[in-house]
Symmetry: C2
Subunit: 122 residues, 2 copies
C-alpha cells in the first residue's frame, strides 16, 4: 500500500481530469465493461485504457478480465481518502469560525455589550 500522502497525490491527480471523473461517475452507478465505459467517450480505446490505468493505479477503480471481457468496478475506499482530507479541512475551518465567534462574544462581554461600552458598567 502506498503511503498516505502519495495516495492523496495520486487520487487528486486522477480526479483532475474530466474524462476520468466521468468514468468514476458512471462506475459509481454500477460495473461496466471497458467497451461500455469507452462508448460515450470521443477518444481512442488506447486513450481510454490509459485513463483507466491512472484510475486503477490510485485505487479508485479495479478491473477484472473474464474471458475476453474486462469489467471495471469502483473502489469507494479511494474516494474516501480524498473525502477524508477535504472533510478534515472543513472541520478545521469550522473550529476556526467557532473560535472567532467565542473571541467576539468575549470581547462583547457576557451582557452582549460592545467593547466601546466597557467600563461604563464596572
Amino acid at each position: 500500500m502506498p503511503n498516505y500522502e502519495g495516495s492523496l497525490d495520486a487520487v487528486f491527480q486522477a480526479l483532475a481530469d474530466p474524462t476520468r471523473r466521468d468514468m468514476v461517475e458512471r462506475l459509481i452507478r454500477g460495473p461496466l465493461s471497458v467497451s461500455k465505459l469507452a462508448q460515450p467517450l470521443e477518444m481512442s480505446l488506447p486513450a481510454v485504457m490509459q485513463h483507466l490505468q491512472v484510475l486503477e493505479a490510485c485505487g479508485l477503480v479495479r478491473s477484472e478480465k473474464v474471458g475476453r471481457v474486462r469489467t471495471c468496478h469502483i473502489e469507494p475506499a479511494g474516494l474516501r481518502t480524498a473525502e477524508g482530507w477535504i472533510g478534515r479541512q472543513r472541520t478545521e475551518w469550522e473550529h476556526r469560525l467557532d473560535r472567532l465567534g467565542e473571541h467576539l462574544s468575549q470581547e462583547r462581554g457576557p451582557s452582549g455589550q460592545g467593547s466601546a461600552e466597557q467600563g461604563s458598567t464596572s
Copy 2:
C-alpha cells in the same frame, strides 16, 4: 468565473501536490504572510510563489499586499467545489447500496427470513 468542470480540474490539480495541501492546511487555521507560509518549506521563495499562484488561480487562496507584506487567506468556497463533487459520488454510491439491499430483501421475501432458515420457525 471559470466553468464548473474547469474549476474542478484546477482545484483537484492544485490539491494533487503535498506542498500545496500543506499550505492549505496551514491557511485554514488563519491568514499568513508569504514569508511565514514559506518558512517551514524547504524550497526557494520563487518556488513557493509558484505554488501560491496555482492555489490563487483555482480559487483556493487569495492574497493581498499591504505595504511590503503580502498576506494569504483561505477561500473555503474553493474546497467546497471539490467536496461537493466527491459528496455527490458518495450519495450515488449509497443509493446503489440501498437499491442492492432492497433487491436482496425482495429476493428473500417480506418476512425477511433467509432461504436456508425457511421453515425452521413456522
